[in-house]
């Protein structure tokens, strides 16, 4: 379900009922937007277990802060903002822990198919190359700042327009344009280095 289709299940009514304390109405909202929120988080955090934990925290926070949603923007814009800032907070805390040596280097999220190292199991060359490109892409993504990563994720994965991204990230549209442009340039240069 994309953002606009989610709205057609009468999110406004579900929000109104949830604000009145109707937990089941909140459950409807959660199920409608769960995949979208998770998509942002996995694009940012890139570790499945952490993304699941942060997703749960986001929804509990949304439930507790429903009163602060004024209804002056779309619910999903407000929801994405809560999720985005939760992801940014998590990444900053993780980076601080890594810098102080408290955490091992975080391995990026893997799909079930890529659990085994390529050197151990023989795979067709094309799949191996794709896995290596994906690994190089993941490494490049890690080097982006959280804000650049978020802008790129909201654009490429969620398909949000620049002004929507600006509302979510609470910044100017020009800033969104710059961040996305810079993220693309950075990824391009990193992948070009890897290819060469």
């Amino acid at each position: 379900m994309n953002s606009r289709e989610s709205e057609s299940f009468d999110a406004a009514d579900a929000v109104r009922r949830a604000r009145a304390g109707d937990v089941d109405a909140f459950g409807l909202l959660m199920k409608a937007y769960h995949d979208k929120v998770y998509g942002i988080l996995i694009g940012m955090i890139r570790h499945a277990d952490d993304a699941r934990d942060v997703s749960q925290q986001v929804w509990v926070k949304v439930w507790n802060k429903l009163d602060s949603f004024k209804g002056d923007a779309d619910f999903y814009t407000w929801l994405y903002r809560v999720a985005s800032f939760a992801a940014l907070d998590f990444i900053r805390k993780r980076n601080r822990k890594q810098e102080s040596g408290l955490l091992e280097e975080i391995e990026p999220a893997r799909s079930p198919d890529s659990e085994t190292a390529p050197s151990v199991v023989s795979r067709p060359d094309k799949e191996l190359e794709q896995a290596e490109v994906q690994a190089a892409f993941n490494a490049a993504l890690d080097l982006l700042s959280p804000e650049h990563r978020l802008a790129l994720t909201l654009r490429e994965v969620e398909g949000m327009a620049y002004d929507e991204i600006a509302r979510v990230m609470k910044c100017r549209k020009g800033t969104v344009m710059s961040r996305i442009f810079y993220a693309r340039k950075h990824m391009q240069e990193h992948l070009r280095e890897w290819h060469s």
Binding site: K31, W63, Y162
Partner: protein
């Protein structure tokens, strides 16, 4: 025609990919890219980045919304009962502290009143009276006298000196 260069073309290309470039500027960009095809190659690299990011987000297994909702509902229940417990505990602590303070006040007052009743008010006053036993003075050949005035109960101190020095008393 307004100035166009490589850097400007790159930025416009990024916006055009996202449908954020006006038709007039998109036309100018197209003309520039036709003349400079190597700039247009970057668009393919950027599209590849977008594809890889979408593939990454799609490939990672996620919980089903139903499973996620069960977790969230449980977390909301736990968070609500934590809040209620804390509020109840705070309320109990306030009652306990108030009661303890009241008991202390009552006990202290009772003991004080009982002591005064046993000893008598005069004894209490007497216990706090300062007694003067003797007086020292640096005046040569001076004599001192200390007595209690029967009428007022005050302690009187006299310091007697020779006629040459005069008298001093209080």
């Amino acid at each position: 025609m307004a100035f166009m260069n490589h850097k400007k073309a790159e930025r416009w290309m990024s916006r055009a990919m996202d449908g954020e470039l006006s038709p007039r500027r998109a036309a100018r960009l197209d003309a520039y890219l036709k003349a400079h095809p190597h700039v247009a190659e970057q668009r393919d690299a950027w599209k590849q980045s977008g594809d890889l990011l979408r593939a990454h987000c799609a490939a990672t297994p996620a919980q089903t919304p139903e499973a996620a909702w069960n977790d969230v509902r449980r977390a909301i229940r736990v968070a609500s009962s934590d809040v209620r417990e804390k509020q109840a505990l705070n309320g109990r602590m306030v009652w306990a502290s108030s009661l303890a303070a009241l008991l202390l006040l009552v006990a202290g007052t009772w003991f004080t009143l009982r002591y005064i009743a046993d000893q008598g008010f005069e004894a209490v006053a007497e216990a706090h009276r300062t007694e003067v036993e003797f007086v020292e003075t640096d005046l040569p050949d001076a004599m001192s006298m200390v007595y209690e005035d029967a009428e007022t109960g005050l302690t009187v101190i006299w310091v007697l000196v020779t006629e040459e020095q005069g008298h001093a008393g209080s």
